[in-house]
Every structure is written in structure tokens, then in C-alpha cells.
Symmetry: C2
Subunit: 332 residues, 2 copies
Amino acid sequence: MAAMSEDDLIASFFAPLAGEGGLGLADDVARLALSENHELIVTTDGVVAGVHFFADDPPASIARKALRVNLSDLAAKGARPLGFLLTLALPETWTRDWLAAFAAALGEDARAYHCPLLGGDTVRTPGPLTIAITALGETPRGTMTARTTARVGDVVAVTGSVGDGALGLAVRHARHEAAPPAWIAAIGEEKAGALLQRYLEPLPRACMAEAVRGWASCAMDVSDGLVGDLRKLTAASGVSASVDLDLAPLSAAAAAALAADESLARQIFAGGDDYEILLTVAPEHYDALAAAARAAGCGLTPIGEITPVSEPFRVMWRGTPAAFGKGSFSHF
Amino acid sequence: MAAMSEDDLIASFFAPLAGEGGLGLADDVARLALSENHELIVTTDGVVAGVHFFADDPPASIARKALRVNLSDLAAKGARPLGFLLTLALPETWTRDWLAAFAAALGEDARAYHCPLLGGDTVRTPGPLTIAITALGETPRGTMTARTTARVGDVVAVTGSVGDGALGLAVRHARHEAAPPAWIAAIGEEKAGALLQRYLEPLPRACMAEAVRGWASCAMDVSDGLVGDLRKLTAASGVSASVDLDLAPLSAAAAAALAADESLARQIFAGGDDYEILLTVAPEHYDALAAAARAAGCGLTPIGEITPVSEPFRVMWRGTPAAFGKGSFSHF
């Protein structure tokens, strides 16, 4: 499709998605006013075909995941989305149908999450499809929930359920394998499909942003595995933690998978792609935050507490210290 | 170098570049307050090895160009830089020396242009090196210089000199060719080197931002060639223009190249990679803007005027309408 110029491509597929600040994608920049007494919260994430997703994943899923991993970061910081910028490096093999499906899904998510397209750049690449999204959000000045502010005695809790994304990736891999793991057959097609869907299209906890900002003492999104990300949070805050993974929230599908194969615990608790919010909260504020999580439809589950830095980082699983406590999936 | 984790890589090479809002690159987001009564101006540009630069270009030049093309957009909109986010997709072949040189040059530019690193994402790619930068800036509310606001009777002018980047690209290509074009030998090594340097490391007119905002009626940066970009500006503004390319500012090197080979006019005026500011200004404000451009060291040259949309888009060259008037380099 090299016959289409960049300007035509933008006009056809992306200009219809542009928010007010995007100036119709007809200028080189976007312009955006923050709400009074707010500050800008900004994050960027890149994904590459063959590394972060499969080139033959549905274009709608690729679009949603590329945007949602950024929305997950904003939510965990308590920020309200303002919009996003998209850099799209397209291989020569792109087709009009592929791009139309990609742009349509991106537009749906932009509306659903109140995060309009503000601008971008479309380039060609001799390599794999590569997508970089920068998402902009805002919080009232000084209220962003940091990663460095967990306090001894805080409850450690996590939204939704963990492990689905990592197990979903295993399901995705199995579709290319002659002999898929036995647990996938054991849990059945419906549960396997649910895991795959969570991998393909994570569910950023955007509805939790305000409650996180209001009640959590510290938060981050879980993208590299629950245990590894908790370790990062405690290190950044200069504290330690004691958690029990038997308390960790599992979906029905992940619970069935774990029942079929105990060794999946590593993937569930130290895998990646959860996009839940891991947070700490003072005990007296826990109930308010849990109520907000119920209202948001994702729920919140306490899994332990923040301890002094002099204590060991303690991760229990089935009554003993978990051997995979140091593991963390690295995207790089 | 796959043995280095993303966290180690960020700590070694990029955390030292982080500005205050970057939170030491230890969180998933950056936080930034705008000046009072200012609004955010944001732009993003992606570059791919083998498309926008050569994989064996010096890493310092690759870094500078990736950032500067974004700074050029901010300058043309009258915006003061606030900082930038970097998404870096690294091929497996990266080395510590390469990345150290890349990061050092990026840090130098970040300081020189008062545009600190705020955050980013580093991923691996099976494809070519790919860099996406999002630059953030601010203008006093309502003062951004748009592309849509040229007025009939305005002077059309351009900063610095045009054509150097496109000719520099030709010089770069010639280094791989058995029989380089005769004009390169004709102008001599020093001038060829100057053109190459302008291609490798454009000079964004950051010092012009305030004057552009104050005096220009309309502006954009010239990235796709003077003639094509003027056409875009007039189309966006609903006007036409009459310009004479014999008035257009050429560097000594470009003038010598053109003297050696008249056919280079197409590359000079319709090539790309100028990163000058094309602007329109009411005649009564021209002198103030020109004085600011002299002070900024780049100069400003009038090349024509804005005419009613009922007039033809008129580009003269050597006394006749230029045949390449419709041409525009497309990055895509």
C-alpha cells in the first residue's frame, strides 16, 4: 500500500479519531489546556510485533493493547486521561483492511476511556510493526500516587485478578504448538479463551484512578508480574513487605489452570501482562478503597502488609517462602 | 547485550539525563506542572534506521536528529520546550559503546535546548533501530502559532537556509556509490561536509520560538520541502501564495551546488529535512521578526506574499513558474 501518502493515510484513518486538542491532525502539534490547579502526568510505552504481540493478532486487539497498557499506567497514578499520541511504524505489507480495523478499535477505546487521539506520526519500516503511544493525563496538583510512598503497616492489595495475562500468553503460544500443555485441555476451551482474551486485551483499571489518588498511599500497575513489581515498589519506597500469595485474587480460569498444574504458580505470580493496580493503603482507608473497587467492578484483594526495611521481603505460597520470589518478567 | 535488563539499561544510560519531572525514571510516569496561564503543546516523531537515517550514522547524530526534529516543531509553534519522552526499540546488535554515545549526545542536547528527558520505554526489536520521541512544550494560553492563520497580504518568509538537508542526504548516499554526482566533487570536501552535517544534525530554530509567537501570523517547520510545505500552509489557511525561489536563502554550500548543477533546484526547494521555520507575518511586523532572527543568528528571508485563494499558487524560479511546484517529499 505504498501508493498512499502519509497525509492521505492520516486523513483516512486517524483524523476521524482526533480530539479537540488534536487540531484535526492538520498541524504538527497538539494543544491542550490542563484543568486549573492540575499537573500533567505522562507515560509512554512501545510495543513491537514478535516481541510484545504476534503479528497475526487481530488488529483491533493490537490497537487496544497498545493504548491500554498506557491507560493502565495513568490509572495506577490516579490520573484522568487527557489524550494520546501515536507513532506507528508500518511494514510494507500493511493493508487498508488491517489499518481500518486497527483505527476503528483505537477510536472505540479512545471514546470509551475518554482519551482522544491528539497527534502522531506514521512512518514505514523494513522491520516489524512497531507502535509507540504516549498518553497524557492530569491530577490535581500534588496528588499523583507515587511508587515511593508506601508506609510500614500499610495493607498491600491488588485489583481484579492476577496471572490471566501470563497464562493467556501460554494459550497463545500453544496455538502454534503440536503438543500444547495438558493444563490447557484440562481447563477447557471457554476458560482458555478467557485467558487468551485477557492477554490480548488487558483491562486497565481506569475507573479506579480517583479512588487510588484519594486513598492509596502508593501504587503502580502490575505489568511485569505481581511479585517482581511488589519488589520494585518496596525498593522504591525504602520498605519491605510480607505477602501471602494464597490470598492473591485469581480468576476462575486461572484457578482452574493452577488446580490442573501447580507449577503454573510462577507464571501466575511472576509472569507479566496483568495490568492490575498493586497498591498500599493505610488500614483505616482500606474499606473506602475496597468499596470503590467494588463499584468499579474489579474488586480489591488484600494480600499482606508493608514491613520495615529491616525485615526480609517475605512471599509465602502454600505455607512456605515462595522460591520464585525474586523473579520478575522483563519486557526487554 | 541481551544480558542487561531494561532496568539496568535505564539506570546506566538514561536516568542520569532525567529532569525533575522525570522522577528519576523510577516511576512509570513523568509529572509536570505548566506555568500559570499556559497550555501544553505536544508533538511526536518517529525515525527508523534505513528509512530516516542510516544504521551506521554516528550514534550521537542519530540521537540529536531524533530529538531536534521534535524541537523544530515546538519552535515553529512558538512553544518553549518542557521535556521529552523517548521510546527506543533496540536491535539485538546494540553495544554498550553505541548506547553510551547515543545517550551522551541526547543529554547534551537536552541541556542545550532546556528540554530534559522525562521518561520513556526501552524495548528490543528484531527489526531496525526505531526511535519515537514525544516532546512537550508550553505557550501562554491562546498564543500558539497555528498553521491555519495566514492572511492575505502577509509576507512569506523562511529562517536560515533551505536545501542543505536534502543535498546533505545526497552527499550521504554518494559515500556508498562508485560514481558520485559531479556536483559533489565540484563544490569540494568542505562544502560537501557542511551539507552532510546539516542532514545528520539539523538545527532547530528554538531561539525563534518567542518571536514567532509574538509576530508571525502563521508558521510551520519545513520538514518536507519548502514548496510542498508552503502548499500545506496555504491549504490549511484557505489562502494562496506567490513566491519567488530566486529570493530563497541558500547556504554557501547549497549555492555552490546549484551553480554546479541547476537540476538540484528540485532537491533544494522540494526536498526535505530543512527544519527551518516557514512563516507568514503582517508587513508592519516584518522588521521586528527579522531583527529577532538576526539576534538568533539564523536570519529571516522574505520570499513572497500570501494572496487570495482565488489566485493560483504561484512559485517562480528563474523568471518562470517552477515545474516542481507540486512536489513534496513524503516521509512515508
